[in-house]
């Protein structure tokens, strides 16, 4: 009995193994002139221009394009609009469109479509940054002639709009979206019709791959890439493993550079290169809450800034890919970066001195400092839920304990965290990050620490709120640069927020099938310009 059963089982096993190996051979497919990209941070849900990942698509410039797009150095370049004029009072912009742009279904792109797009962005949900901006500042969009549109604002925000909003606001066809009340729920087959260099073909739900093909009628010429396959991967590890194995050529996520801790393994792989660009976002920062004591005290915040070991954090969180930040917070890649400001310093003596002179002394000899009035001091540090922020918070709390401050890491459920960070805002110190968009905006990332309508901070100091309000209403780029310097100087002095790392933005690509990526500051190699500069090897 035993032998017979054992033998049959063995035979079955062998047959199964052979079968599987046969299927393996059959699965090897031909490559052709197809660019394979990997997606990880947003999952494919609806094939709809307003739903992620397509909703962030303006930077990629695949199916939908904006009037003007970011240049590789984050300046503004013409795209759907070939030129524009900003009015002298800074309250309106007139865009002149290219003459031969068409939608993917053949219809021509007109000024009406553009005007419709902006009015549409204005009324759709305020939870989108664009909706919020146009809802607050766009008065109306006016069709001047078949190829010209004027955007009229109710305040002098034209310059800032051009610098930070226009490149992320893509134009949509009026004939598709006109009657649609709830854009995110629309599931029509034409929900991805745009006028960009690529046309959406189909989506394989089982394999989680979106297929796009080059638009032969694109007004700036057919892209060098014939077709794109956008593969979704659930975890970063699987995506990077697939990249190393050659299943995909590059990673295409909206602002998701790969952390330095993966770089070591990636450089070892054959045919994988790391494209490193200056990062415009700040991958790790510490923001103070002004609703709590003692973080509302300048000398305390300055002391904290001297107590953090930035070099160690750099090594732990970014595996050394980056540099110690400056006191001004914003990264050197930002247009308008203030080069005169000093770097942050790790100096426990200065930290202790500042605390001592401000009255934070250990009176009862337990090794922990009390506040000047003698009451016990126990300060929570609240990290975002992702592991790297929790780890950073752990390290910082250890740093602060070394100078005698009783700091502990507060780990909250996601709901409680959101409530604390956005609604109640009663945190002492929060560990998070800022996106390129936030830094490029008029407020230059002040939204994280300033308490103004539509912003997320707690500081009400009239000095900074004044500067921020001015910055948003800059009449032109020069005025914006001036305001940005003023903001950075304030931050260096008062330290309402401390950048913890200025990272390199690392984007891995394969080198064996495609060459000629055009890397963009902050956002990496997968962007509008690469479609025309890439060549098959």
């Amino acid at each position: 009995m035993n032998r017979f059963r054992r033998e049959t089982l063995l035979a079955c096993g062998l047959v199964l193994l052979l079968f599987l190996m046969g299927t393996m051979a059959a699965s090897a497919t031909e490559n052709g002139n197809v660019l394979r990209l990997g997606l990880q941070s947003d999952k494919f849900t609806q094939m709809n221009a307003f739903v992620l990942p397509w909703g962030n698509g303006a930077v990629f410039g695949m199916t939908h394009i904006p009037l003007a797009t970011f240049k590789p150095d984050l300046d503004t370049a013409p795209c759907l609009a070939e030129k524009w004029e900003v009015s002298s009072d800074g309250k309106s912009i007139t865009f002149h469109l290219v003459k031969n742009a068409t939608w993917h279904d053949g219809k021509p792109v007109t000024a009406e479509d553009v005007a419709f797009s902006f009015e549409y962005w204005k009324k759709i949900d305020k939870s989108d940054a664009r909706g919020n901006w146009y809802g607050s500042y766009l008065d109306h969009a006016k069709v001047i002639d078949n190829n010209s549109v004027e955007l009229v604002f109710n305040e002098s925000v034209a310059a800032v709009t051009l610098a930070s909003q226009i490149p992320i606001t893509y134009v949509i066809p009026q004939h598709v979206w006109k009657g649609v009340e709830k854009p995110k729920e629309y599931n029509g087959a034409d929900a991805l019709i745009g006028c960009g260099p690529f046309i959406f073909e189909k989506f394989d739900n089982d394999a989680q791959i979106a297929y796009l093909k080059a638009n032969p009628n694109y007004f700036a010429g057919k892209p060098a890439v014939d077709a794109i396959e956008w593969h979704y991967y659930r975890s970063l590890d699987t995506l990077l493993l697939a990249l190393e194995k050659g299943e995909i050529d590059a990673k295409a996520d909206y602002y998701q550079p790969v952390s330095g801790i993966y770089a070591a393994d990636l450089v070892k792989a054959d045919n994988v290169d790391l494209i490193i660009v200056p990062d415009i976002g700040v991958p790790l920062h510490l923001v103070f809450g002004f609703k709590q004591y003692p973080t509302n005290t300048t000398s305390f915040r300055q002391a904290v800034s001297y107590a953090i070991d930035y070099q160690a954090l750099l090594e732990m969180i970014a595996a050394g890919y980056g540099e110690i930040p400056g006191k001004g917070y914003n990264s050197p890649a930002l247009p308008g970066f203030d080069t005169d400001l000093p770097k942050l310093e790790y100096n426990t003596t200065k930290a202790k001195d500042l605390l001592n002179s401000s009255g934070f002394i250990d009176k009862d000899g337990d090794g922990l400092r009390e506040s000047p009035d003698g009451s016990k001091l126990r300060i929570p540090i609240t990290p975002d839920t992702k592991p790297q922020y929790v780890r950073a918070a752990e390290v910082i709390s250890q740093n602060l304990r070394k100078i005698g401050l009783d700091v502990y890491v507060e780990s909250l459920s996601s709901d409680a965290l959101k409530k604390k960070l956005w609604t109640d805002r009663d945190y002492c110190m929060a560990v998070r990050y800022s996106t390129p968009y936030a830094n490029l905006a008029g407020d230059t990332a002040a939204e994280y620490y300033v308490d103004l309508p539509g912003m997320f901070g707690t500081c009400k100091d009239a000095k900074i709120t004044g500067i921020v309000n001015e910055a948003i209403r800059s009449k032109d780029i020069d005025a914006l640069s001036k305001s940005r310097r003023a903001i950075q100087e304030y931050v260096a002095e008062e330290q309402p927020i401390i950048a913890l790392i200025w990272g390199d933005a690392i984007y891995p690509v394969r080198t064996d099938r495609w060459v000629g990526w055009t890397p963009m500051n902050g956002y990496g190699p997968v962007n509008y310009w690469s479609w025309f500069s890439l060549k098959p090897k």
Binding site: L20, Q208, A242, D415, T423
Partner: protein, 327 residues
């Protein structure tokens, strides 16, 4: 006959009550948790961004109504198959779940069957030869597998067989662009590792039950009689012992479903298999509560159905429940 139907009717009633309680629990949990119940219902993505949207949706969801009215409309929605709307997926919850559920079932059915077979075979071997060297080896092996965290073992498999040896794909259900038979083979190839891991764990569970069942039965009187009659060992094992030992196992296979669902959840995540496991995980990460609650309801229903099936099988097979006849 009537005894059997009576038994089944009682069980059906029990399950109905269970279902009712589960449904009510899902209604109550978000409203009982500390913090704003509204976050729990909508997921925070919507909540912290836009206060107007929140107000609008509050009335839409009837959260300004008294609790009893909310409960009634909740039940009403459920009966119409409306599980709510997932903000994360921009689709109705039911649409998302029905698509993913089928892939979990694709994974579960072969695993449950193979796990049962493996467990039965190994368990009866070990139980029949209890105390021998073979029993010691097999039992130790299964004990060790039982002790391992599912997902850790699954991760090791991915690393060894998929990445280093390249024998199997790293993740996913299928590579793109295939149709028909080719697609079927591709899916089978992707299924191989996850099914293997799930089978192993299912087998351990069944192994122990089968083993103790066989051990128990082989200690009973009729086996001694059979031996005394001079029957061959193999005949005794098959004809007498297995038939009696199999009965509890039949119900266990159906119950396996409930146990395997939890195991499948974790294994799916490791293999990036697009089924309920990854759905629940993503819903947790995104705190998309409508999706999370909907998934739980569907999973609970499936488990209840599987249990009921087990009861039906038990009633059919167990001679003691037949109308009047003794074993």
């Amino acid at each position: 006959m009537t005894e059997r139907t009576g038994y089944l009717a009682r069980q059906a009633l029990r399950y109905a009550i269970s279902l009712f309680i589960i449904v009510t629990l899902i209604f109550l949990i978000p409203r009982m948790m500390p913090g704003d119940p509204f976050i729990s219902l909508l997921g925070e993505e919507v909540y912290y961004r836009s206060p107007d949207l929140v107000e609008q949706l509050k009335t839409q969801y009837g959260l300004d109504q008294p609790l009893s009215e909310q409960y009634l409309s909740y039940l009403h929605n459920l009966m119409q198959g409306n599980l709510g709307y997932s903000f994360h997926y921009s689709q109705p919850v039911w649409d998302v779940i029905s698509y993913k559920m089928k892939w979990t079932i694709v994974l579960l059915i072969p695993s449950v069957i193979l796990g049962a077979i493996l467990g039965i075979v190994m368990g009866s071997l070990a139980g029949w030869q209890r105390g021998s060297g073979m029993d010691a080896w097999i039992t130790s092996l299964f004990l060790f597998i039982y002790s391992m965290p599912h997902y850790w073992l699954a991760m090791l498999f991915v690393l060894i067989f998929a990445f280093y040896l390249g024998l199997f794909p790293l993740s996913g259900i299928t590579a793109g662009g295939l149709e028909g038979v080719q697609k079927l083979r591709d899916v089978l190839w992707h299924m191989a590792l996850p099914v293997f891991v799930l089978t192993l764990f299912g087998a351990t569970y069944n192994f122990f039950i089968m083993r103790s069942s066989v051990v128990q039965v082989s200690g009973e009187g009729f086996v001694l009689t059979a031996r005394a009659k001079g029957l061959a060992e193999r005949e005794i094992l098959f004809r007498h012992v297995l038939r009696n030992a199999l009965l509890p196992l039949v119900t266990v296979i159906a119950l396996d479903f409930g146990f395997m669902v939890s195991g499948a959840l974790l294994v799916e995540i490791v293999f990036s298999w697009g089924g309920m496991g990854t759905l629940v995980y993503d819903a947790v990460l995104a705190r998309d509560y409508p999706l999370l609650h909907g998934s739980f309801l569907v999973i609970a229903c499936c488990v209840l159905a599987a249990n009921f099936l087990a009861d039906v099988l038990y009633a059919v097979l167990d001679p003691r429940i037949r109308g009047g006849n003794a074993a």
